[in-house]
Subunit: 193 residues, 2 copies
């Protein structure tokens, strides 16, 4: 059931870094994005794949993790992602993106989850630095970095409290809590027969 | 397998309009979006649901269909969507969106596909008119309209020709063809051990 997969597909920030991810797995995930919808079918998204520890380490230096966890600057060595997909917009094909990168990311992360992996979409990226690290030409704009690995944290969905605070947080057992709005709070109107 | 669902989840523009969709089904689909990732967990997306023929007809008048099919202005009566989800950004929560609407749309359409339905993400929307039709407050910005129904067309994925023409097209049997770039054309580099 897709509902089970979507529920299980939680943003993950701590991984078993020793669990290697193969290039073939990354290609399978990119293929899921390739076969997903694209606005006006332009398909401007391109990808850089990395499952090489040395390159991973250089990519990691360009990322900012978990804005709401003020006392945590990101995963420690050993808990870092075993792979990355750098998602690029080819501006020769489409000057701007509307939501292709969201569609593609969801396909990729659902595919990863089905394989027992998990990931994190990172938009807080030092783009100039990452462009240099990966030698990315100017025509390719960095949209997102998807970090992927074998999950090593427990993540639970909570109902949003009355105070409306949407910030995720970690409890004393390092369980990661994600407050979600209720269905009735996001449905504005329903026109029915 | 999520790969099968993603492959089967093709943008559809002709439906069996007599196949009704219930409010409960629409709520289930919105719930899939609710449980999907949201940038900084802000969850600014809100929804208007419609499965009422009279409202559907008024929504339909605000939509432009299939930019590349120049001799076709949209589905005929009887082949129109049986339901709509109007996806709104609550600008009181987030002034702009990055890709939440893409993530949410992919969750919704994969869920619809699993139920034997199909859909189309429409961004070419007469927003002022639709705001009036649905009495949408100014604080809610229309991002996308998702049209949903029981599919009544055959859609196939082709490899992109050497000419690079990405425009979808219909053959004499009204089969809808969608040219997709090859995997090797969208992978820029792969860093491997």
């Amino acid at each position: 059931m897709i509902a089970d997969l979507i529920k299980a597909n939680r943003t993950c920030r701590r991984f078993d870094e020793q669990h290697r991810i193969t290039p073939a797995t990354l290609l399978e995930l990119v293929d899921l994005a390739r076969l997903s919808a694209s606005a006006a079918n332009l398909q401007p998204l391109k990808y850089i794949l990395s499952c090489a520890p040395a390159t991973n380490a250089r990519i990691f230096e360009c990322l900012k993790w978990a804005y709401y966890l003020k006392n945590w600057s990101g995963p420690e060595p050993g808990e870092r992602p075993a792979a990355y997909l750098v998602m690029l917009n080819d501006t020769r094909i489409s000057k701007t993106l509307d939501c292709d990168h969201g569609i593609a990311s969801q396909s990729i992360l659902l595919g990863a989850r089905e394989k027992g992996l998990a990931g994190c979409m990172l938009a807080a990226v030092n783009r100039p630095k990452l462009s240099t690290v990966l030698n990315i030409p100017e025509s390719l704009e960095i949209k997102l970095v998807l970090a992927i690995g074998k999950p090593k944290e427990t993540i639970v969905i909570d109902n949003l409290n009355a105070d409306g605070d949407i910030r995720y947080w970690r409890d004393d057992d390092l369980v990661h809590h994600v407050p979600k709005r209720r269905l009735e709070d996001i449905v504005v109107a329903s026109y029915e027969i």
